[in-house]
Symmetry: C2
DNA sequence: TGTATTTTGTTCCGTGGATATACAATATGT
DNA sequence: ACATATTGTATATCCACGGAACAAAATACA
């Protein structure tokens, strides 16, 4: 039951039905490919005639293509349809404190090439270097003509509309216009987004073999910081200034440990990689300056090492993992109480210890969730091997092709 | 950029354009009434011919009516159109711990009759008594034929789809099927909803002279409990089990005072009426049982009395108000960081002290909000005189008439 | 007073697109 | 060879927007 915005609506024209149905067709094909025209018609509950014209239009637009003829028990054999994703390319970029990742992938998020280099913190130099690398990458893979855009994600707040990075504390960037600079340097459309939000988008748009893909979920990324992307009814929650979803900075304790954001007791201050390591090494976060913490972060001992130690019987490491699991669960419970999503995706280094801490996490959720049904909210750990942030950056460019048309 | 749900979509048919445009027309008329056909056509950017047919169809459906002819500087005088709200009735019910309120109102939320009685906690008796009162009320005002439904709101979690009250701690109701029982007793459609969510709906649908009515906002109701209704892009956030929006139970401090919900340190435990009074009287909430707290709640000294004392120079009362203001602000800041709404509505007894605590609230928000823009999120105190919860209950029945059709 | 002008609301026809139905194409079973 | 089943196309019909003409109603002005 949505209210029509009387200040900014779109009336239906003669071609609105077609816009809607053609987009539905594209999505049904995407979800069930390979699929025949007749099957599409059945799934859409329209006549084969309509399905046929929709399909021919989509072929004309280069969005889908006819593949092999399929097999049927009786009657004429169907010609299978596929969404054109393999020869449509995206450059995705993930900027992190230590390194920057550049990937060339197709519209399905399949990796074609990957390049990693040390992050340059001076924006001018960074853009220049990045531009050169992108141009070379496209040339080497002969992809200049087929690349449709650049998606860039950062850990921090981004105004998606303007493409400005509002505040990325780990990178030390504030009010930086990355989008227009990179667009000018490369001559391609650039989309910039917060990393966790982008991951949520990729979870929604690029998860191919996901039959019951949730329409409402939260994607929680635990890393140097804690980012959350919330999707409600198939739409990413962005908010007025595009800074919604900062669940990493909801308080667990107003008098708790100091957080990178300047406040005390944020969730992030309890479960970020730095917080996990601090728990193990006994660092006192409250008294350390963010600057000195960065040095610690730069040290070679990572959360993955800590998890390894926990597995090999280091009881202090195990205790750090479990304590983190508890706070992770308490935060997840709060998200459940606030958003009540269909499911929750978890990502980040600490999730490699999921088997060790799952029980603790679920206990904490059960402790604070308000209903019994809420405690049963499915938790899904996403694999860290597939570069979720880069897939997210790719989704920024690929998603608009499939999005529902704005109506009413 | 919404994703189409491939498991549950609606293709556009021949009549979809008409459905969309007729609903847009209804809303534009609602917002700008009185308005002529020609003016409607201009605002919708369609031809007068289309506007005319839409209008005539809406008149045929009894949704709008032609009023007086207007005035124009030159040319033929326009005939004004109005949305039919004055002779379409709703019975709205607000169940609270001490009293239950029944209102008969029109579709604009205008009060026609109001009845107040002591809440009966036995469900069977309550429904029976309520049914009798509703029947009598409708008969007295000769409104049986014109009443289109009953909206009922409670302080607690409600599954809107099934009409079950999941848990209303202050009333002591758990898993109670109010909707079907009341529907059976009265023979009318009944909608049940959480009070704060309903208030958010009424803020969206029944705020007549609100030119820049926000499409995304949070409605915060501070009373015996703390309820929040979140609206995103004109749609109420309900969640999978319809228990989204329980911001009252997000933690400010995991080791904080005990809350009605059984957990510790919920926002509600810091700013509910009971918390406010406890602050003044020095009650130790952590050690009291919910049962004994209920007795305190029943006592005659209310938050309104406390605010009066604060105004008359009672420094302890003033301190309680300001301390509450600080926690109110800290919670609001968190909501802003999570949802980033266009604006925030505030309601509840303590808001009568708004002038006393506004500075403190804003200070707390500035302290914890993550961006400067976020600290400037408009706060609007809604008047407590107009029975916001009853208006909310009325909105449950009135809103579907105006809601956007589901498409794609 | 009569005519031009302006604005409102209606009517009519053209066009886009869903819907229904018929039909050609293609494969299988008997 | 023929009935049957299934896919995909072609054609006529109906619904709704889009544009233009026109009638209706009121004012301005000579």
């Amino acid at each position: 039951m949505r209210k029509i915005n009387t200040c900014d609506f779109r009336v239906a024209t003669r071609s609105t039905s077609r816009e809607i149905n053609s987009r539905i067709a594209l999505n049904v094909i995407h979800e069930h490919q390979p699929i025949s025209r007749a099957d599409l018609a059945r799934r859409m509950k329209v006549t084969r005639g309509v399905a046929s014209t929709l399909v021919n239009e989509l072929i004309g637009q280069g969005l889908i293509y006819e593949g092999a003829t399929g097999d049927a028990a009786r009657g004429r054999k169907p010609t299978f349809l596929h969404v054109r994703t393999r020869d449509r390319f995206v450059v995705s970029i993930d900027v992190r404190f230590s390194r920057t990742y550049i990937m060339l992938s197709d519209f399905a998020g399949r990796q074609i090439a990957l390049e990693i280099f040390d992050t340059i913190f001076d924006i001018g130099d960074f853009i220049k270097n990045l531009g050169n690398r992108i141009r070379r990458l496209l040339k080497v893979h002969n992809a200049e003509a087929r690349c449709e855009g650049i998606g860039l994600v950062v850990p921090g707040m981004v105004d998606y509309r303007t493409g400005h990075i509002l505040n990325a504390p780990t990178l030390g960037w504030r009010e930086v216009d990355v989008r227009d600079k990179l667009a000018a340097s490369t001559g391609m459309p650039v989309h910039v987004e917060n990393a966790a939000k982008a991951c949520a988008l990729s979870q929604m748009w690029l998860s191919n073999n996901n039959p019951t893909s949730a329409q409402s979920f939260a994607y929680i990324s635990v890393s140097d910081g804690v980012g959350v992307g919330v999707v409600v009814n198939g739409e990413l929650l962005r908010g007025r200034d595009h800074i919604a979803g900062e669940f990493g900075h909801m308080p667990l304790n107003l008098d708790g440990p100091r957080c990178m954001c300047g406040n005390n007791g944020c969730w992030e201050a309890y479960i970020s990689n730095l917080a996990i390591l601090s728990r193990y090494f006994g660092w006192n976060l409250s008294k350390r300056s963010p600057k000195r913490l960065k040095d610690a972060e730069r040290s070679s001992f990572t959360v993955l090492d800590l998890v390894a130690r926990a597995r090999s019987g280091d009881s202090k490491a195990m205790a750090a993992v479990l304590a983190t699991g508890r706070f992770l669960g308490l935060g997840i419970a709060t998200i459940i109480n606030l958003v009540n999503p269909d499911c929750i995706y978890l990502a980040g280094e600490i999730t490699t210890a999921w088997d060790l801490m799952e029980d603790t996490v679920r206990e904490a959720i059960a402790e604070r969730a308000l209903t019994e049904a809420a405690t049963r909210t499915p938790l899904r750990v996403t694999s860290t091997q597939e570069y979720p942030r880069l897939r997210g950056a790719a989704a920024l460019i690929a998603a608009p092709t499939f999005a529902a048309p704005r109506v009413a």
